[in-house]
């Protein structure tokens, strides 16, 4: 299953949850937020929501900014 994660195409295991993806992508899931197809997914729904073929996922965290 392919999805776009943080701007890059990526092969993911079918049925993977957002939570699992976050754990894979982020060194530390603390203070992380996720947008799935341009909608924010609250942390409490991460485990329930499965990534679908073609999804566009952004996983972000606080970064140096002005």
């Amino acid at each position: 299953m392919r999805a776009r994660v943080n701007g890059a195409e990526r092969e993911l295991s079918p049925g993977m949850s957002i939570g699992a993806l976050v754990n894979e992508v982020a060194a530390d899931a603390k203070a992380v937020a996720v947008a799935l197809n341009r909608a924010m997914i609250p942390r409490k729904e991460w485990s329930a929501v499965q990534v679908q073929e073609g999804d566009d996922i952004e996983i972000v965290a606080p970064f140096h900014g002005g």
Binding site: A27, A33, P42, V60, A61, G65, G66
Partner: protein, 258 residues
Amino acid sequence: MSDETLQIGELELHSRVLLGSAMYPSTQVMLDCVAASGTEMVTVALRRVSPGAKGESLYELLHRAGVHILPNTAGCYTAEDAVLTAQLGREAIGTELVKLEVIADDQTLLPDAAGLLQAAEELVRDGFVVLPYTNDDPVLARRLEDIGCAAIMPLAAPIGSGLGVRNPHNLSLIKERASVPVIVDAGLGTASDVTIVLELGCDGVLLNSAVARAGDPVMMAQAMRAAAAAGAAAFRARRMPRKYHAEASTPAKGTPWR
């Protein structure tokens, strides 16, 4: 808001300096600047996590430093992107605060008035405490306040230019019509710029390049803390009137041989 504090939504800040977290020579220098500036609120951006990156722990560093974290929407060129980024920031950091940026173009990095108003309206409706980065147009400032923004953040000059207050007249007009705090964001370059802003009666400043890109950022952070204190006190002290001609300070009475 009392003379002594800067009220943003529910928060009462005792420092009038907000600080950005970008462009420091090192994370340690950033933390030292946070301490030296006395700031109680630091801005962050939302950016993609990268596996193994150190960036992720910025949250923890700032949290441990005891400051409020103010997520921004830097890099957003539409109201839609800005609203979504604000939601991500709220979720990531657990704060209603957002420094709202809706940028018109890469070249000027100036705000897009229409997009800014639209995003501000949506975010206020959604319960955010909105601090919009805006130009120095008194009309737009008033609209943003009318919409329910918690503060107005007009620029002094273009982002990162360090040119200082280009139009003090507009900042005065904004302040004299505002009932929420006016925090000047963008374009300040050195300590006297900060003193001038506070002397105009504005309530605070948000600094980043001016500190991070100084030769000695920590010393500049310290300078900025003093500069804000100086400007705020001078404003409250009400300056002497200006005179076109000289006026003796030492009285002539009792001068010998006269």
